[in-house]
């Protein structure tokens, strides 16, 4: 199989209400990515665009709308879409463009402009539910997170206090991320005392709605070495989609994340992820999700992630740093761009370019994961430095 590397990256600030249009946000991230490795648009063979529900931006055929901002003028371009999993799926979709041999370079752009949705982007989420059996109940997205969080807590005896530590960790980590939307030093009490939205979910358990964009450039091995001596290899890719009928699944454990992870680890030749993965960026749109996803990613046993968190193992200085970027909770959650932010975090960490966020020990292997749809899709990418 042809080897594919990430050789450049760009990311905008994540903010609640950008003045820029989605096109401009895309352009911002895409041009930064080109600049970061000294490439020009003419060096880009094709583009893959990722952006989540059209209802946020309020644009139909959003891929075409964003295409010029994403540098895809008169080029082969497609938009990929797997809900919240899109941001980590982007590099996977781009990977196939290059690994197939059809192209040598691919620019992957992830964008989200949630602020266009009035009065609040949360409202758009109502339309993800089944039109016949669920929408008449007027559900919100927070309901299903509350259901899943409660199930997870109940099944494994995990407390809100323990889960709150994820918000504390990630919002603190984000203080060192230049793109961060609302990084801050908070305490467990702050989380528990924040407004209850749908028990057991409090406001500080949730990542903020956001506008932003992020992009990476993928290249074949020969091309990669022309632009960098530190290519980061896309070593494993995996994705998996569970049934739409989410109400009939046990939500305590994300099986589809496990299957996606196994597909990626298999390809990357990773047999014991809890030992071999040195840095992880699991998707954390809600605090408990980081733990839920760590377990799906096989980084620990079922119900054991909270202990690792409490023991400090997942801090930047711990044995398995999780979300050193600050995650969605700290940096912000412009859906598709968030997943890419995590990919970029690993890219920087593996090149020792993460600045104040750099984890010690010169990490070589990292895993990024995103999640989406109706508690349904897991998308996983394993990145490695220095060979397969």
């Amino acid at each position: 199989m042809r080897r594919v590397a990430i050789i450049g990256a760009g990311i905008t600030k994540f903010m609640r209400r950008a003045q820029e249009t989605g096109k401009e946000l895309s352009w911002n991230a895409a041009s930064q990515a080109l600049f970061s490795c000294g490439m020009k648009l003419k060096d880009i063979d094709c583009v893959s665009i990722g952006t989540a529900p059209d209802a946020f931006d309020g644009v139909h055929m959003k891929g075409e709308y964003l295409s010029d901002g994403s540098g895809a003028f008169k080029k082969p371009v497609m938009r990929h879409f797997v809900g919240g999993g899109t941001g980590v799926f982007g590099p996977i979709h781009g990977f196939f463009h290059v690994a197939s041999g059809m192209f040598d370079t691919c620019l992957v752009v992830e964008e989200e402009k949630m602020s266009s949705c009035h009065p609040h982007p949360q409202g758009a989420f109502r339309t993800i539910f089944d039109h016949t059996t669920e929408q008449p109940l007027n559900p919100t997205l927070i309901w299903i997170f509350a259901l899943e969080m409660n199930r997870y807590m109940h099944k494994y005896g995990i407390t809100k206090k323990e889960i709150a530590l994820v918000s504390v960790k990630n919002k603190k980590n984000a203080l060192d991320h230049p793109s961060a939307q609302i990084p801050e030093n908070i305490t467990v009490e702050d989380v528990l005392n924040s407004e209850e939205l749908a028990w057991p979910v409090n406001r500080l358990d949730i990542s903020p709605a956001s506008d932003g964009a992020a992009a990476v450039i993928l290249a074949s091995e020969e091309v990669a070495y022309k632009y960098t001596d530190k290519p980061v290899w896309v070593s494993g890719v995996g994705w998996n989609l569970d049934t739409s009928y989410w109400a009939t699944r046990d939500l305590c454990y994300p099986e589809y994340v496990e299957k996606a992870a196994r597909m990626a680890y298999n390809m990357a030749g990773i047999k014991e992820p809890s030992k071999e993965i040195q840095v992880a960026e699991p998707y954390d749109p809600f605090s408990y999700k980081e733990l839920h996803h760590m377990e799906g990613l096989q980084l620990c046993g079922k119900g054991e992630a909270a202990k690792l968190l409490v023991d400090g193992v997942t801090q930047r200085t711990g044995n398995l740093p999780c979300c050193p970027s600050g995650g969605a909770l700290g940096v912000g959650n412009p859906i598709a761009a968030t997943g890419m932010m995590k990919i970029i975090e690993l890219f920087l960490q593996l090149r020792d370019e993460a600045g104040k966020r750099q984890i010690p020990g010169r990490p070589k292997v990292g895993v990024a994961q995103a999640w989406g749809d109706l508690m349904q899709v897991g998308t996983v990418v394993v990145l490695k430095r220095d060979g397969k």
């Binding site: 139909h60 891929g63 990929h80 879409f81 196939f96 039109h131 995996g238 049934t243 899709v377």
Partner: protein, 375 residues
């Protein structure tokens, strides 16, 4: 193409103007079942699935959620490409060529009859800052383009009307078509003005339908399959500017660029000689001529005298079959595969060995995809 990939199975539901008795899931299930049977597989052998839909047309956010069950794709790698079926096909081809998959299913469907205000929904594709405040409809943009193209190509309204007449008459031979009609140019030219010179009958009417195609690696395709594989020899896709203000209104450059990529991959130097049957987008009457100019001839107006003699759109085109939006490329692919395999029935042309399917994503896009197939 470095690794060979082939279509080993096809399945679809008939196009219908309305389908109140079936849900979209049932339609997809029918198309998938037919495709798997045709390929000699069950859903279990299919390793991955690529679905092609747009949220605003299916009527809920994150259309990706509702893709797996009816395909037999639960807990498998499933993705959505919000583009034409043929872009999904390109994705599936790249996945197989990368060496990670052997069998991938591609799906798309339209349940446009569910959309209460199709033109309004379609208008959401216009730029929110620059174009929507002008309160134009998507068809208005097509009307502008038609006027410009007719001017540059030296076409009359009668030329465009002939495209409609031929397409709808051809569709009368296709039992799967939804909008077959026996009409004359006079009927087209007296149909209601939508955005002159664009009239009602110049526009492909929306239809419901689902289509599934199974793509396989060379090894898998050659092993004990019930039917002859159809090889995907070349595929190209391209998007020009999305901006109305920055485009060439009469030259379908996107179609030319997409076809150049596909022809190069397939080793085609003279499509008029090398290709035996064409399915080219005719979402609007004039688009057929505009696309033929870009794909097969040189400049605007070249196709005017020659298009009628080409082995073109045996399905009846979108004008006669129906506009299935993201599924259009899939329907064209279905027709080409049927032609090459000799199972096209009443629309069968004789001796077709190589075919071309071309899709356009509709107003206001400049996105085109071209696939070259060979048996």
């Amino acid at each position: 193409m470095s690794t060979k990939v082939a279509i080993i199975g096809i399945g679809r539901t008939n196009a219908r103007s309305v389908s109140p008795d079936v849900s979209y899931r049932e339609m997809i299930f029918e198309a998938a079942t037919k495709a798997y049977t045709d390929a000699g597989v069950t859903h279990r052998e299919v390793e991955s699935f690529v679905c092609n839909e747009e949220d605003f047309l299916v009527g809920y956010s994150i259309t990706d959620e509702y893709t797996p069950d009816q395909l037999g794709a639960v807990q498998k790698p499933v993705q959505t490409v919000t583009g034409d079926f043929l872009q999904g096909l390109a994705t599936a081809a790249m996945m197989i060529q990368a060496g990670l998959f052997k069998v991938v299913a591609v799906e798309s469907h339209s349940k446009a009859s569910n959309v209460k205000s199709l033109e309004e929904v379609h208008s959401f594709a216009l730029d929110p800052m620059l174009n929507r405040p002008l309160k134009m409809s998507a068809n208005f943009v097509a009307g502008l383009e038609m006027r410009r193209y007719m001017h540059d190509a030296g076409l009359s309204e009668e030329n465009c009307a002939e495209v409609v007449v031929r397409a709808k008459r051809q569709a009368m031979k296709n039992p799967a078509a939804a909008w077959a009609l026996n009409i004359t140019s006079k009927d087209v030219l007296s149909s209601e003005a939508v955005s002159l010179p664009l009239r009602e009958l110049d526009i492909s009417p929306a239809a419901d339908g689902a289509v599934v195609v199974i793509l396989a690696s060379e090894d898998f395709a050659k092993k004990n399959r019930p039917n002859k594989p159809v090889w995907l020899k070349g595929i190209g896709w391209c998007s020009d500017t999305p901006g109305l203000e920055t485009r060439d209104w009469s030259d379908a450059a996107y179609a030319r660029l997409a076809s150049e990529r596909a022809f190069k991959m397939a080793g085609i130097s003279d499509p008029l000689k090398d290709i035996d049957v064409f399915e080219i987008d005719d979402t609007y009457s004039y688009k057929l001529l505009q696309h033929a100019d870009a794909l097969l001839f040189k400049k605007a107006g070249d196709s005017k005298t020659k298009w009628n003699e080409l082995p073109l759109n045996p399905s009846g085109g979108s004008l006669g079959y129906g506009n299935l939006f993201e599924a259009n490329g899939g329907i064209k692919l279905y027709e080409i595969c049927s032609q090459l395999r000799g199972i096209a029935g009443a629309t069968q042309l004789s001796g077709a060995k190589r075919g071309l399917a071309m899709a356009w994503r509709g107003v206001p896009t400049t996105t085109g995809v071209v696939a070259v197939l060979e048996i």
